[in-house]
């Protein structure tokens, strides 16, 4: 069975570890980590991905900028993107979805919620 490549763009190591722990339950997926938007964009250039999970508030390049870049790139624009939002982030969530993100998850992340949302985009 072909593996699903999932890119996790998150500056917090705690969150990355939590996301990876949860997604490891999906047997056929390959998880790639990126620490910010720029790192995420670099990883996207070198590999094909089936799904991107990105935090909004990150140093160097935030998640919204990354979403915008991906949606304006001819080769990558169809990759599903899930944004991770935090406190009072209604605006961020709306902006993310308006920029072309497919879905969102609110912090604190619950493992089962994360799995449910991710499974909607990888079959």
């Amino acid at each position: 069975m072909a593996k699903h490549n999932i890119l996790i763009v998150e500056d917090s190591p705690t969150m990355r570890q939590l996301i990876i722990f949860s997604l490891k339950r999906i047997s056929d997926c390959n998880l790639v980590e990126a620490t910010d938007g720029v790192d995420g964009w670099k990883k996207l250039s070198g590999q094909n991905f089936d799904l991107i999970l990105t935090d909004i508030n990150m140093p160097v390049m935030d998640g919204l900028k990354l979403v915008s870049l991906i949606r304006s790139d001819e080769k990558k624009k169809n990759i599903p993107i899930i944004i991770i939002t935090t406190e009072g982030a209604e605006e961020d969530k709306k902006r993310g979805l308006a920029l072309g993100a497919n879905d969102y998850i609110a912090k604190p992340i619950q493992s089962h919620t994360l799995l449910e949302v991710v499974k909607k985009y990888i079959h």
Partner: protein, 292 residues
């Protein structure tokens, strides 16, 4: 005027009347014969039924046996239905248990990750960052601060904060107010009402957890406001608070000691370098490495 009778008219009328009566009689006779036929057929059927009954003397026995079989089958059906219900119930129990186990698993994962991150570094600032991350990402706090004990002044001083500037939170004397009381007693405080926390009240947090090494309170985690989507503390939150109370305390303390020892070590190293270099130095020559 009297009606004149035409000769020959009367017998014809009579004949027609007679014919009508005859036809009616014929129809009636036909109906009777049909009815008779039906009755004969029924009689024949009944006779045949009687004959077959007579021909099968075990019919009653067979009927009783069949009735028994029906009863037994019905009992089996009842039993199977009961088993089905039991299996269904067991299935439901297993599904419920699976959910509980899954939740426990998730909670353990959160605790493991929190603990792993806390002890992954000896850098003081890094440890503080990890504590903040845990509180934001695993507990779901929006505005909070981390205070450490200032033994010299017997008060709690803010060393890190999220959603608020560090300097905005004033130092708190041990035993003073809700926060000071937590620092004094070492007992966690949780507000009853978590929803009514729109106004930031720095004296009345929604939660205050002491960071302890054994029974000594070395710091406090003070939460003023939770994320909008977080309306209550769950079991996992209390477990995380409990983990932070001990692990964050030891991690912060260890990191502090480590950074102090690092500083001391570099100072001692500097002295040693100075001592070993001194004899080779010419009079009036400055040391090559300045002391820090």
């Amino acid at each position: 005027m009297t009606e004149k009778k035409i000769p020959g008219e009367w017998p014809r009328q009579k004949a027609e009347e007679f014919l009508q009566v005859f036809y009616k009689g014929a129809e009636f006779t036909k109906e009777l014969m049909e009815e008779n036929e039906k009755l004969r057929y029924k009689v024949m059927q009944l006779e045949e039924g009687t004959k077959s009954k007579e021909a099968d003397p075990n019919l009653n026995e067979r009927l009783v046996k069949m009735e028994k079989e029906i009863r037994s089958l019905e009992e089996d059906k009842e039993r199977l239905l009961r088993i089905h219900e039991e299996v269904e119930q067991e299935n439901k129990d297993f599904a419920d248990r699976y959910i509980v186990v899954q939740e426990e698993n998730n909670n353990l994962a959160n605790l493991y990750i929190a603990s792993h991150q806390l002890h992954s570094t000896l850098d003081y600032k890094e440890v503080l960052r990890v504590v903040l991350e845990i509180v934001i990402n695993l507990i779901g706090a929006e505005t909070f601060c981390l205070m450490l004990l200032d033994e010299k002044h017997n008060e709690m001083a803010t060393v890190a904060a999220e959603g608020i500037e560090v300097h905005q939170v004033k130092n708190i004397k041990i035993g003073k107010g809700t926060i000071g009381e937590v620092a004094k007693t070492g007992e966690s405080y949780f507000s009853q009402d978590l929803t009514n926390n729109t106004e930031l009240d720095l004296k009345n947090p929604v939660a205050c957890v002491p960071l302890k090494i054994k029974e000594n309170v070395i710091g406090l985690l003070v939460i003023y406001k939770l994320l909008v989507q977080k309306s209550e503390f769950k079991n996992i939150d209390f477990e995380l608070f409990s983990l932070l109370a001990s692990h964050a305390a030891t991690a912060i303390y260890s990191a502090k000691l480590y950074s102090q020892s690092e500083r001391k070590l570099s100072t001692i190293q500097g002295f040693l370098d100075l001592l070993t270099e001194t004899p080779q130095r010419k009079p009036g020559q400055e040391p090559e490495t300045p002391l820090t």
